[in-house]
């Protein structure tokens, strides 16, 4: 999550076949222009397309138009945020995508061991809550009422890009936020509405939050100083960032927490 420039959106698109990227880029740009957007910058890398666009309309309309372009998978549309996901190691992510150089206030990340859906870049986390800008989720666990919830949302007109249960958490939260619920309240509602095991992190324009399921089945540890809050599944991941001994807290079951800027 970084600086917001008025009316600008960062759009990250991915396509399955690297040979198609130029034509996908061209058609995506055309679609943006047709929708009334002005393209500020465009860049491609392998199968990835990054557009910075000035657009005054509804993000949902733009997203719906873009998703119709053959070969387009939208990883994120955000006013201050973008989702970068690929296959490889964190070190590779830094080298290829320059993740280490990105400046921002907060961010979330994930390394995936696929439990039920396909193993490909699209099904990797974080999941953007299409079509709501700046809401992304990473999830550890397995939702067991996923199919039922997905059908309910689809019947309401929502669009899912993958068969991954984690994507629905993003859509669920976005739905609650759109109804006017605060982030913490939305997280709390999820404890009742989502069945199965989960620890998930959500990043919005304004902050970060986590929710832990009723059985405390999935790990989470947090470390907090005056300047920074760090959250991870296992302490060993935090030790790479915090060499000093800081209080490491393991949240309880059915717990939600938020940190707002």
């Amino acid at each position: 999550m970084g600086e917001q420039i008025d009316g600008d959106l960062v759009i990250r698109i991915w396509t399955e076949n690297v040979q198609d990227i130029s034509s996908v880029a061209a058609r995506s740009e055309e679609t943006v222009r047709h929708a009334g957007g002005v393209i500020r910058s465009t860049s491609t890398l392998d199968q990835f397309l990054r557009l910075v666009v000035n657009y005054q309309g509804e993000v949902a309309d733009l997203a719906d138009a873009l998703i119709k372009v053959p070969g387009v998978a939208i990883h994120s549309i955000g006013t201050t945020s973008e989702v970068i996901k690929d296959i490889g190691t964190p070190a590779m992510m830094d080298v290829k995508h320059g993740v280490g150089e990105i400046l921002g206030t907060h961010g979330i990340g994930h390394v995936r061991m696929a439990t039920e859906s396909r193993v490909d870049v699209n099904h990797a986390h974080p999941f953007w809550a299409y079509p709501f800008p700046d809401i992304t989720v990473v999830h550890n666990g397995q939702l067991t009422n996923y199919h039922k919830l997905k059908r309910m949302y689809e019947d309401q007109g929502h669009h899912f890009q993958t068969g991954n249960d984690s994507e629905i958490i993003a859509v669920y939260l976005a739905g609650k936020l759109a109804e006017g619920q605060g982030l913490k309240q939305a997280l709390r509602s999820s404890l009742d509405d989502l069945d199965g095991t989960f620890t998930y992190l959500v990043a919005t324009k304004d902050g970060l939050g986590y929710a832990k399921d009723q059985w405390s089945a999935k790990p989470l540890v947090t470390m907090e100083t005056d300047d920074v809050i760090a959250i991870a599944s296992e302490e060993i991941s935090l030790r790479g960032v915090f060499a000093e001994e800081i209080e490491r807290i393991e949240p309880q079951n059915s717990e939600v927490m938020t940190w707002l800027l």
Binding site: M113, A114, T115, N140, Q142, T197, A217, K218, S233
Partner: protein, 433 residues
């Protein structure tokens, strides 16, 4: 007056409802599913004709030696036959039965496996190659026993009752069985469904590493799954680091389970093996991670077909018990009087009243099973199975049971064709693709 009987509201269904009207809870029994599902009988071998050279029985060798878990283990499990004896608990079975099975395994150069009650010293003494199970209950779990095992099997679930834990009725939770399990005498034991210290596939990876540490990285670590979402489960077990995966089907045996679980969860053996094989192939691990099939392996043809479909080995449970005398009217027994049914129709393992001394802790009954005589019967049975396997294998022109492949089979029914992904006899078509 119209006569006939309903298939849905059959007499046995009515009897079931009458019983539950008194009982007020789910019913429990042992044995195996009564469902008539597609099984190996619906597949047939395509033996040699003019296209291939059949091998003679005696002089021409047919290899049966099987290596399990060679991927990471310094000392993989080497068996002289692809058939070994599945884990069944001391508690569900009598000590004499466990010892007999251990002895039999040693006699045939194969392995036996502990069970949901810990390791009986008698079994350890009798069995040269012992697979040590790590179950959700951890009854009788001892790290020293673990360290001395020839393989370790982490049990996620079993085919007869996937998604749940073990069960032993109070009549069998007596004496040293109760002591080994650290349970009060006579309690109706219901084991946990989940492992206490790991809860998902990502944790399982750490658990497998712990087991390797505890066994100095010497022996194979197996993961046993009840066959349900086979594709997902096998991939996860493999990714978590299993050296071998045991896939246990819905027709596998049990000493005591809720009836609804036995009948209404899990999938048959044939599709389970095929899905497991394909899952490993997709990961590039087929042939590296060993695949072991269990559930309904009754004779050498079943075992051979399991291998042809893609398994590296098979485990037998009920079959071994039947060789021990399960459902046989022996001189000392009287099935109708003692257990209420004719021999051949008994599936009351959970009652602890086994008339042949296998599934009981009653000393008057267990003495009817002599471990040495029992061992010989089981060894004979497994030898017969191995001979049946090699007979079929040679008739296919192959000198090694591990050369058996899916193309050696044809399906006799549409369902078998779809489940095994093998053409229907008389056609070139695989139904269901």
């Amino acid at each position: 007056m119209v006569t006939g009987s309903s298939q849905i509201w059959a007499p046995w269904v009515m009897d079931d409802i009458h019983s539950k009207a008194e009982l007020g809870r789910y019913r429990i029994r042992g044995f195996s599913s009564f469902q008539n599902v597609t099984h190996f009988d619906d597949l047939t071998f395509l033996s040699t004709g003019l296209t291939r050279f059949p091998l003679e029985g005696y002089k021409e060798r047919c290899n049966t030696r099987t290596v399990i878990g060679g991927l990471n283990a310094e000392q993989p499990l080497v068996l002289e036959t692809p058939i070994y004896i599945s884990g069944m608990s001391y508690g569900a079975l009598s000590a004499n039965a466990k010892i007999a099975l251990g002895k039999a395994a040693t006699m045939i150069g194969s392995a036996s496996c502990t069970g949901d009650g810990g390791m009986l010293q008698g079994e350890r003494d009798a069995s040269d190659k012992l697979v040590y199970q790590v179950l959700p209950s951890r009854y009788g779990f001892n790290p020293h026993h673990l360290a001395g095992a020839q393989a370790v099997e982490i049990v996620v679930g079993q085919g007869a009752k996937p998604g749940t834990g073990g069960m032993l009725m109070g009549i069998k939770v007596q004496g040293d069985v109760a002591e080994m399990r650290d349970l009060p005498q006579g309690i109706d034991q219901r084991s946990p469904a989940r492992h206490p210290d790991w809860l998902g596939p990502d944790d399982l990876a750490v658990k497998i590493e712990q087991i390797r540490e505890a066994t100095d990285w010497r022996v194979p670590v197996h993961v046993k799954l009840g066959a349900c979402r086979v594709d997902d489960d096998v991939k996860l077990a493999a990714k978590a680091g299993a050296d071998a995966i045991v896939i246990d089907s819905m027709v596998a045996g049990t000493g005591a389970s809720a009836e609804v679980l036995i009948e209404h969860s899990g999938i048959p053996t044939v599709p389970a093996i095929v899905m497991a094989r394909e899952a490993l192939r997709e990961l590039g691990l087929y042939g590296k991670v060993s695949l072991i099939a269990s559930g309904g392996i009754r004779h050498g043809a079943d075992a051979a077909k399991a291998l042809a479909l893609g398994a590296d080995a098979v485990a037998i449970g009920l079959g071994a018990l039947i060789a021990l005398n399960c459902n046989k009217e022996i001189p000392e027994s009287n099935f109708p009087e003692e257990i209420g049914v004719e021999a051949g129709l008994c599936h009351h393992c959970h009652t602890g009243k086994c008339p042949v001394g296998i599934a009981t802790q009653d000393p008057l009954l267990t003495q009817r099973l002599d471990p040495d005589e029992g061992a010989e019967r089981v060894a004979n049975y497994i030898n017969s199975m191995t001979m049946e396997m090699t007979l079929l294998t040679r008739s296919l022109g192959k000198s090694d049971v591990h050369s058996l492949e899916p193309e050696d089979l044809a399906a006799l029914t549409l369902e078998a064709s779809a489940m095994a992904r093998i053409p229907l006899v008389g056609t070139n078509k695989v139904f269901g693709e």
